[in-house]
């Protein structure tokens, strides 16, 4: 089934807010209603120092309680069980028509309980962290097995993890005024930068997610995962024609990341990208060389190879990559990495959502396919160590293998030489979303902005065009890498799989792909 990834913007958020607060049912998916978890009294007065033991301090979840709940989860046997406690506080500020006149807050509090038997999963969750409710959820999870009860461990050892995104001050301890200030100033700067700007939507998010994973193999892991972004979306008008674009900066960063310089840069990029579109044309349709600019275009790696390397698709043999480990899949200068340890990036994790430390996993090592992305279930299936890719959206979902920050290190060429080598084709600057069909390996990504390449040089701007390719073919077609590697520094990158979203990051240098299908309007 298709596994889309999208760069979430605040427009997407507004759609969620404004939709009929009632049930919607999609074709292949379950029905949903607006989820809205628990709001807790601790929201406005959280402890400043973050010593281990948050869930015990705030919600009286002791080791003894965890042990009793795990015993319930293993009451009918099973190979393994875990508890995932989550407390997430999200705050959005929204500016429309010149003023910050809308705020939205959500608090998610709950626990998900999973029992695993081989590759089978039983799962229950509850929003009430009371023992009676947790025991009922554990009983649901236990139904996946039908054997003799197993005894949980006597005690739990706190997992030592990296510290890839230290939070100096909790977002909840930062007063509202400076947050309102940056949203207002990004709006004001956008209008100052060009008289053609007619509308600005600005949005700010801060989110602090606390998790605790307690497992039947005796591990206890805790983490505080911050996420923050500032987004500006601009509409400009010139000679009766309107164009819209935008930009965001963020990641797993502190509030003080938003210096006046960063706010200014957000406004400048958003406005410049919008104004460029007035000169944009639709490119011709068909196969042609495609140069991907540095940074955000790393979405291509995410779609073309990343999803196909998630081990659940491979143990089920439904990925096009399921027979390719150890084989040459790309030129020897191509290395592709999925990394949870990159400082302050959106997809970084100190620990994954099943208690495995965040780490760096090499997918393609100098052209050779080396490792899938594993969760506990697939690692056991393949008889290897998990890679720390077991991730989930929230306590209402069980974990599956997911990417973190997916990137390709730089090559030796200059970006100009890469463009020159393309001759005639297109240059991709920004990508808004992408999707892949795991089994075929066919993928698409939507180019919101780029340039024509003519005579080995950048030409007219282009926009709004979908590009199609095939993952394994595209990998062998990456023939030149530049020396200008960049990580995308936005905070709004979000990937969807099995109906669950997860924050992810990307990075790559300027790359020449010999041939992709460009979906223009001219034959």
């Amino acid at each position: 089934m298709p596994k889309p990834i999208s760069i979430e913007s605040w427009e997407g958020f507004m759609k969620t807010m404004n939709r009929r607060a009632f049930l919607k049912t999609g074709a292949a998916t379950a029905a949903i209603s607006i989820a809205a978890p628990i709001f807790d009294k601790t929201w406005f007065a959280l402890a400043a120092a973050e010593a281990p033991g948050y869930f015990e301090r705030e919600f009286a979840v002791t080791d003894a309680v965890c042990r009793r709940i795990l015993a319930k989860a293993l009451a009918k046997g099973g190979d393994y069980a875990d508890l995932y406690f989550e407390h997430t506080i999200s705050n959005y500020l929204i500016l429309e028509d010149g003023k910050v006149n809308q705020a939205y807050s959500n608090v998610a509090l709950g626990v998900g309980i999973r029992t695993v038997k081989g590759e089978q999963v039983g799962y229950g969750f509850t929003q009430e962290l009371e023992e009676k409710s947790m025991a009922a959820a554990a009983a649901t999870a236990a139904t996946i097995a039908a054997g003799a009860a197993k005894i949980p461990p006597q005690g739990f050892t706190l997992l030592k993890t990296g510290d890839h995104y230290p939070l100096k001050i909790l977002f909840s301890a930062v007063p509202l005024e400076p947050k309102l200030g940056i949203v207002q100033s990004v709006n004001d700067r956008c209008f100052d930068l060009s008289p053609l700007v007619i509308k600005v939507n600005a949005a700010y998010l801060d989110q602090q997610k606390r998790i605790m994973v307690v497992t039947s193999d005796g591990t206890k892991a805790e983490d505080l995962q911050p996420r923050i972004f500032l987004n500006a979306s601009v509409v400009a008008e010139k000679n009766g024609r309107r164009e819209r674009s935008g930009w965001n900066f963020g990641g797993r960063k502190n509030f003080d990341y938003f210096t006046p310089a960063v706010v200014e840069e957000t406004a400048q990029i958003a406005v410049n990208r919008t104004l460029t579109l007035f000169d944009a044309v639709q490119p011709p349709a068909g196969e042609m060389p495609v140069v991907l600019g540095p940074g955000l275009t790393g979405i291509l790696l995410h779609e073309a190879i990343g999803h196909g390397m998630e081990a659940d698709f491979n143990r089920k043999k439904i990925s096009t990559y399921s027979t390719m480990i150890g084989k040459k899949v790309a030129e020897p200068f191509v290395t592709i990495i999925d990394d949870g340890t990159t400082p302050n990036l959106t997809g970084s994790i100190n620990v994954d959502d099943e208690g495995i430390p965040g780490q760096k996993t090499v997918l393609v090592d100098n052209g050779i396919l080396t490792s899938y992305l594993h969760d506990r279930i697939s690692a056991k299936f393949y008889g290897i160590q998990p890679t720390g890719n077991g991730r989930r959206q929230d306590y209402q979902n069980y974990p599956v293998p997911r990417m973190r920050n997916t990137y390709m290190p730089a090559g030796p060429a200059s970006p100009e030489d890469v463009i020159k080598a393309a001759g005639k084709g297109i240059y991709v600057q920004d990508v808004s979303n992408g999707q892949v069909k795991i089994g075929e390996g066919d993928f698409a990504f939507f180019v919101s902005q780029g340039r024509m390449i003519e005579g080995g040089k950048l030409g007219a701007p282009i926009k709004d065009v979908n590009i199609m390719g095939n993952g394994p073919k595209m990998l062998t077609n990456m023939i030149m890498l530049a020396n200008d590697f960049q990580f995308y520094q936005g905070g709004a990158g979000s990937c969807g799989k099995n109906g669950q979203t997860a924050p992810v990051g990307f990075g790559q240098p300027t790359v020449l792909v010999k041939s992709l299908t460009v979906g223009g309007t001219r034959s």
Partner: protein, 440 residues
């Protein structure tokens, strides 16, 4: 449960007023869902949970904010509400943000939309397992030796929802649903492993199709993708299959929202009363459809729901304008978002139309792509069948169509006779002429 929701909402409104809110709107949801998946003839996942949530909009001294919680214990709620009100006072004033004029609450239809199956409780764990096993078995049987993997799943649920506003609105809605689906991956040439799904949904057990229909559909659709490849870029007639029309139609509907228009992000903003599509396109929004997946006698503002002709024989008649954006635009409000969308079906089947067209592409799936609501430019990857002399001759993949909505819909020439029953978009397959399909 209904009385419990009412009591809680009424108490919440009183509490918000006592905390200093001038107005307030509460939405409380309570739901139970069960999900069972099978693979290799055994359960792959079993998941079950009850959720509840309360969301609150507060209007304080001309300021507005919204928050959500699922802690419905009164002491926690009371603190939640008073903090929400306090935080709202720090925001900028917004003179357009008020509760709706209660006159729009009037005229709600008192009809039974048949959204709840009284037999829901008879759907037991054994029934679920039997249903999902039969889906898996039929998919495996039909897929035969081409099968690499089959996953079957069933989900069902019962949810209740209450909307109450402090200026005299309350509306309660309830729904039950049953979903079955299967996804198959097949062996193809080289490393290609095409996958497709089949699915069905119903609000009443009696309306749910036999599990074999779902399993066989997944297998049939997957097998149809074998040998998929791209062909030369060409201008061709296309047929967009009913179950995927929403993906293209969504680009049109998004540009019809009051927010898009007021924020100058809609290519349709100045097109009301104008021809935007061929005579063949009529689009109806019907929230009062019996057993419709998005039926509801009131909308998110509490407005009495009514059937609306959004596009009439190619002429754009109405927009989706909620109370807030109606005030910003200075327009009369309609309703804030689409409910059940209907394009009246035509007379001929897809097979008959293919025969008539001779050569073209039947689009059965989309991949990636996007639509720009400001300009109307859309570009999206396609999967489907090339047909010649009315017969499918080649599966196509890795191809793309791109156009501007204002041009594309003028080339819409026919609706087939097959409205899709498993979505709130009850639309038939649609035929367009002269579309650039890009490949090699």
């Amino acid at each position: 449960m209904k009385k419990e929701l009412y009591d809680l909402a009424a108490w919440g409104i009183e509490t918000a007023k006592a905390a200093g809110a001038n107005g307030c709107r509460i939405n409380i949801n309570s739901a139970r869902t069960v999900e069972i998946g099978y693979r290799e003839r055994k359960p792959e996942n079993i998941k079950e949970a009850s959720t509840k949530s309360l969301s609150l909009e507060v209007f304080v001294n001309g300021r507005y904010s919204s928050m959500s919680t699922s802690d419905l214990r009164k002491p926690a709620l009371k603190e939640f509400i008073s903090r929400a009100v306090a935080q709202t006072k720090l925001l900028a004033e917004d003179p357009f943000r008020t509760l709706p004029d209660p006159k729009y609450y009037q005229g709600r239809q008192n009809v039974d939309l048949e959204m709840v199956d009284p037999e829901y409780a008879t759907w037991k764990p054994e029934s679920r397992h039997a249903f999902v096993k039969a889906i898996e078995d039929s998919c495996l049987a039909k897929g035969g030796d081409k099968v690499i993997s089959v996953t079957a799943e069933t989900t069902d649920g019962h949810s209740e929802s209450l909307l109450m506003a402090s200026n005299g609105f309350d509306g309660y809605a309830e729904i039950t649903y049953f979903v079955g689906s299967a996804s198959m991956t097949a062996k193809d040439e080289g490393d290609r492993r095409p996958a497709e799904y089949g699915s069905a949904v119903a609000l009443h057990l009696k309306d749910l199709v036999k599990p074999e229909v779902i399993g066989e559909e997944a297998a049939r659709r997957t097998l149809a993708l074998l040998g998929g490849k791209k062909i030369k870029t060409e201008t061709l007639p296309i047929i967009i299959e009913n179950r995927v029309v929403e993906r293209i139609g969504g680009g049109l509907v998004d540009a019809m929202s009051g927010r898009s228009i007021q924020q100058k992000q809609s290519f349709l903003a100045d097109k009301r009363g104008q021809k935007i599509a061929s005579d063949f396109l009529t689009l109806i929004d019907d929230p009062l459809l019996k057993r419709g997946l998005s039926s509801n006698p009131f909308d998110g503002d509490g407005f009495a729901a009514k059937k609306r002709i959004m596009i009439d024989a190619g002429v754009l008649k109405e927009f989706y304008v909620d109370w807030y954006y109606s005030r910003k635009l200075g327009w009369e409000p309609t309703t804030g978002s689409p409910s059940n969308l209907i394009i009246p079906p035509g007379k001929r089947s897809v097979a008959e139309i293919m025969k008539d067209l001779g050569r073209g592409i039947l689009i059965t799936g989309f991949i990636g792509g996007n639509s720009n609501s400001t300009t109307g430019d859309a570009s999206v990857g396609i999967v489907g069948q090339l047909f010649e002399n009315g017969v499918p001759v080649q599966a196509v993949a890795e191809m793309n169509i791109a156009d501007n909505h204002l041009k594309l819909w003028t080339r819409f020439v026919e609706a087939a006779n097959d409205p899709y029953p498993y979505s709130s978009a009850r639309v038939p397959s649609l035929v367009f002429r002269d579309v650039v399909v890009s490949g090699i």
